[in-house]
């Protein structure tokens, strides 16, 4: 379980990082927390020729508010985002998603941006990013572009990051304090990957739902916005009938596959169960 030969560089600035990436293109791979990359390298499923560590780029270790967005830099560890008062106040949905990510030990190293860039279909953060209408800041030697979450996540383990680009930050929509949000998932055990989950937030005015953002993970090859379920809620009183309609919509708009951990029917059933629990804010794991 040893990686194939690679060379290692640890630049100290984002400028240097993107220059290194420009030089090596496809052969380079960013190392942040390493919680996914390093196991993949040890299994020789990932074989980068150049590993570019951003762990010395302290300029990327920040959480701040910029206008109506919460911005998290590429070096922010998941545990630091999870415990950040700013994240808890401005993006409670993100704060609720983070405790589900891996284990405390992996969250001490794993980064928010790293999990998004990894794009595991079972990961919570891509779904949270969809629900929070996140934008990825992709930086390269040519400059910077911003990609909304729904364009960023392409397929299983596949994003729109081009060779030479690094996710230098992610920005999330600040949540209104009146919003409700929830993350619900089911796993086959306490410390293993989920078999399905949802991340959602919604707002209401005078008892009528004015906004809903719902995303599911683990029920397809990539995290997915559940727009039919959202439509079933917006304009409703989020009462039993509306929830039932949203659950039915969610189950029909996902297209899960079965594997050794759960069959497709269960995952379809589950997405409805978890959506209902999330909307009712039932405190169940």
């Amino acid at each position: 379980m040893k990686p194939a030969p690679f060379s290692f560089v640890a630049p100290e600035s984002l400028d240097e990082v993107v220059r290194t990436l420009a030089e090596h293109g496809d052969d380079a791979q960013i190392l942040a927390g390493g919680q996914s990359l390093v196991p993949l390298m040890n299994l020789r499923l990932a074989r980068p020729e150049v590993v570019v560590s951003i762990n010395r780029c302290h300029e990327l270790d920040y959480i701040r508010l910029v206008d109506d967005r919460l911005v998290i830099g590429a070096l922010v560890r998941q545990i630091d985002a999870e415990t950040s008062p700013l994240v808890q106040a401005e993006c409670p949905l993100l704060a609720k998603a983070l405790p589900h990510v891996g284990l405390p030990a992996t969250r001490n190293r794993g980064t928010v941006c790293g999990s998004l860039a990894h794009c595991d279909p079972l990961a919570e953060l891509p779904a949270a990013a969809l629900a929070l209408e996140a934008e990825m800041v992709l930086t390269s030697a040519a400059g910077e572009r911003r990609v909304p979450a729904h364009d960023f996540f392409v397929a299983e383990m596949t994003t729109c990051i081009e060779p030479g680009e690094v996710v230098s930050a992610v920005t999330f929509a600040r949540q209104d304090p009146s919003e409700r949000s929830a993350v619900r998932e089911v796993s086959n055990g306490g410390h293993v990957f989920p078999v399905g989950g949802v991340a959602l937030r919604w707002a209401s005015s005078d008892g009528i739902c004015t906004m809903a953002r719902i995303a599911a993970f683990g029920v397809g090859s990539v995290a997915q916005r559940l727009r039919d379920a959202e439509r079933a809620l917006v304009g409703s009183d989020v009462g039993p009938a509306a929830i039932a309609a949203a659950v039915a919509a969610a189950r029909s708009e996902v297209d899960p596959t079965g594997d050794i951990h759960a069959d497709a029917d269960y995952r379809r059933h589950l997405v409805g169960v978890l959506l209902e629990r999330g909307l009712l804010e039932e405190e169940r794991p």
Partner: protein
């Protein structure tokens, strides 16, 4: 002479191991200082379950800088004889295994070549460059399909893929079924699992001059390994020394003899350089022995009171592609067939037990061996009797159990239960869990607040401390049964105790010291335990199947008594008394009734070692070093009851364990804290087996669970708080009165949890007869039943 001191046995003495292990100062194989010029191994594993090897091109790997050699099956066959388990059962199909596959691979993960390199990295670079051409062949992995006449043949010497079929029947089984008011029948399916110790396997072979080899291995069976290395490598056993450093969990899977060990030793001898091999997790999952891929069909003939009149079992176990050493592929087969009768008065019994060959990893011992499954079956039958007759499951068990007053009792397959507490352990567990209250609460319906609540019992016997007759009864004629102890009182009066065991975390340095302190009359802190080294102390059968307390404890007690008698003879001579009048306490010896006429162990030992001016008694030999051996009876039977309370979520199928109690009886308890630890760890593994774990092969034999992302292990958050209580029914058949406790935690948890889930869902028309019980399965059962 007598011992007069407060016993160390029975005390929760803190583990001597914890301080250094918890500080990270343990020395496992990979932590040993690597000698200069050590070579490292990596194995090329077959991705196919069944294939012909048409060619292997090693030239590119050989050309890699730092690669010293690349060897194939043919190369190794010239150095190591084919390895084989010796099973003497009528009809057993003898089969052998080449340490690296020659011509044909028979399971995914079987090694076909080995790269020897200057570093682990280079060795792993090397295996990528070995080009193996395979011609894939049809494979069979399923235990039922394996015996289809059209199934591909796994092993040329195993016709029809049947390794062994055992049959047994008492005279009146058919009459019992004829007389039955009801017949309760069920099929039980068990998932293939493996132990996954936190430290994978590994070994380091160091040649020493002139021709010796020191072989460090993460094994549970150092003496058996040494003999096997000598035998299959054809070298003098006396030139080999096997040393077991700290071992990070064995759980039975390290009580097997593996090809990598033979390859590592053979290469060290050939190259005359140290050779090291450390397994990775991928290799561990694919090539460690597996367990529990079993099917049980059980039929019970019962009367109207739920009394079992006769029992039939058809057992089929998957032995994998080769019969693994040293216990062979029949271990689960004969084990389940003999153990299923448990604590019950089964008077008519018939079984057919079949071990089949498939294109899967070899199957051998994993904590509990067969018992988690055979008790899932018999305890599942007890619950089904209760449901059929409208009785309480506990009541059905109580009616069928052998009461304590009838012990000693010999069961239908000839195993003697000398002492025990079947009824008492069940009653105590019921009280601890407020059983009657829980049942009363179920009367209003099992579905409350979206969860189905149920309770499950497993009352069971636990095989431990098996002696030679026990192995003979299962066809294992080359497995000794005895263990040995040597007790040495040093010139300073301190005590070194050698025992033929090897710990993998059980706390032997503590518990054996407690046993010796009491038997010798020494102070606990003066006793040091040495084990896991074939150069220290005599031969033994080593550490598996919950043996060490019974066999090592018994041997050490006997050796201690001999040493104590010698000390007493010398002390009596020095004190001008008689040995019979010497009282030993806390490392001191005095004349009975005259405490002032006393000598310390040191003063007596100095005489023994001629390090003072006292003479030895006439005819007494120098030193104080006594050895004895102990072979326990057929089987030393412990027992326990586990009761689990669960809540099954009606919507998502998840299982919460809301209550868990264990009442265990391992006879005389050496260290209650360590016994609790054994139970807790076992229950955690039982939770994994019942609810999470499953090793999955594709129908064509490809591996679907090659990492811990897919092979799901329980962790601390899956383990509930539990209550553990003990009943002590000291064995009257063993020296010391000890019974084993290593496996009961796992055995009881599986059936208790499966039965609890079945009970929770018993208002629905569903059948819970398989494991693991994952949310998707339970949710489907609930939805299909309209729940």
């Amino acid at each position: 002479m007598s011992v007069d001191q407060n016993g160390a046995v029975g005390q929760s003495v803190l583990r001597r191991e914890d301080d250094y292990l918890l500080r990270g100062q343990g020395r496992f194989v990979d932590d040993l200082p690597t000698p200069l010029n050590t070579l490292h191994l990596a194995f090329v594993l077959s991705p196919y379950a069944h294939a012909r090897i048409t060619s292997i091109d090693t030239s590119e790997a050989m050309a890699l800088d730092g690669v010293v050699d690349v060897l194939t099956g043919a190369d190794l066959a010239a150095m190591v004889k084919p390895i084989a388990a010796q099973i003497e059962l009528p009809g057993y199909s003898f089969n052998t295994r080449d340490v690296l596959a020659v011509d044909e691979v028979r399971f995914a993960g079987e090694a076909v070549a080995v790269v020897v390199a200057e570093s682990q990295y280079l060795a792993e670079d090397g295996i990528e460059l070995v080009e193996v051409d395979y011609e894939p062949l049809a494979a069979v992995t399923d235990i039922h399909e394996a015996t289809d006449p059209a199934a591909p043949q796994v092993n040329p010497t195993v016709p029809g893929n049947v390794y062994f079929e055992g049959r047994f029947a008492t005279d009146n089984v058919a009459a019992g079924f004829d007389a039955a008011a009801h017949v309760i029948a069920e099929d039980f399916n068990s998932n293939r699992v493996t132990a996954v110790p936190i430290e994978p396997r590994g070994c380091l072979a160091v040649p020493e001059q002139p021709a010796n080899l020191v072989f460090y291995s993460s094994t549970q069976i150092h003496h058996l390994l040494r003999t096997a290395l000598a035998e299959f490598l054809d070298v003098a056993e006396s030139t080999l020394r096997v040393v077991v450093p700290d071992v990070g969990g064995g759980f039975g899977i390290k009580a097997a003899l593996y090809p990598e060990e033979f390859v590592c030793a053979a290469l060290a001898l050939r190259l005359r350089r140290p050779v090291k091999w450390i397994q990775d997790r991928y290799g561990a999952l694919l090539t460690d022995v597996h367990a529990r891929d079993n099917h049980y069909r059980v039929e019970a003939a019962i009367d109207d009171d739920g009394i079992v009149l006769a029992l039939r079992a058809e057992i089929r176990t998957n032995g994998g592609a080769y019969s693994a050493l040293p216990f062979g592929c029949t271990l689960e087969t004969t084990g389940g067939a003999r153990m299923i009768v448990g604590p019950y008065r089964i008077t008519e019994y018939e079984y057919t037990a079949t071990a089949v060959a498939t294109h899967t990893a070899p199957v051998l011992a994993y904590r509990g061996v067969a018992q988690p499954v055979c008790f899932m079956a018999i305890e599942g039958i007890m619950d089904r009797i209760a449901r059929r007759l409208g009785l309480d499951p506990a009541e059905v068990r109580l009616r069928n159990m052998v009461p304590t007053a009838e012990l000693p009792w010999t069961n239908i397959v000839g195993v003697r239960y000398d002492t025990g507490s079947f009824v008492e352990s069940l009653e105590m567990a019921m009280e601890m869990v407020n059983y009657d209250e829980f049942r009363a609460s179920q009367a209003q319906g099992r579905l409350v607040d979206g969860k189905y609540r149920g309770i499950g019992i497993c009352s069971f016997t636990e095989v431990s401390g098996t002696g030679a007759p026990g192995w003979r009864a299962r066809g294992l004629t080359r497995l000794p049964g005895f263990d040995s102890g040597t007790v040495k009182v040093e010139p300073t009066g301190k005590v070194t105790a050698f025992v033929s065991h090897a710990h993998s975390g059980q706390g032997h340095f503590t518990t054996f010291a407690q046993v010796v302190a009491d038997a010798l009359g020494a102070r606990l802190e003066d006793v040091t335990v040495v084990e896991g080294d074939t150069a220290a102390g005599p031969y033994g059968t080593n550490t598996f199947a919950s043996r060490s307390a019974v066999t090592g404890g018994g041997a050490l007690i006997r050796a201690s008594e001999k040493a104590r008698l010698k000390l007493a003879r010398i002390a009596a001579f020095m004190l001008e008394s008689t040995p019979e009048d010497i009282v030993v306490a806390d490392g001191q010896m005095h004349v009975a009734g005259v405490p002032s006429r006393a000598l310390s162990f040191q003063e007596v030992a100095e005489t023994a070692y001629a390090m003072n001016t006292s003479d030895l008694p006439e005819g007494e030999s120098f030193g104080v070093e006594e050895t004895d051996f102990y072979d326990p009876p057929l089987v030393t039977m412990a027992n326990a009851t586990h009761i689990a309370q669960v809540a099954v979520d009606a919507a998502d199928g998840t299982v919460d364990i809301e209550g868990y109690v264990v009442v265990h009886d391992c006879g005389r308890v050496i260290n209650p804290m360590i016994v609790d630890g054994q139970v807790m760890g076992g229950v955690a593994q039982g939770i994994g087996e019942a609810l999470m774990e499953e090793f999955v092969y594709d129908p064509d034999g490809g591996v679907r669970t090659a990492t811990l992302m897919d092979y799901l292990l329980p962790s601390s958050v899956d383990v509930p708080n539990y209550q553990i209580a003990h009943i002590e029914s000291p064995s009257i058949d063993t020296v010391g009165g000890f019974k084993g406790v290593g496996e009961g935690g796992l055995i009881g948890a599986v059936a208790a949890l499966v039965n609890a889930v079945a009970d929770a869902l018993s208002d629905l028309d569903v059948n819970v007869n398989t494991k693991p019980l994952r949310p998707a399965l339970l949710s489907r059962l609930i939805r299909e039943a309209g729940g």
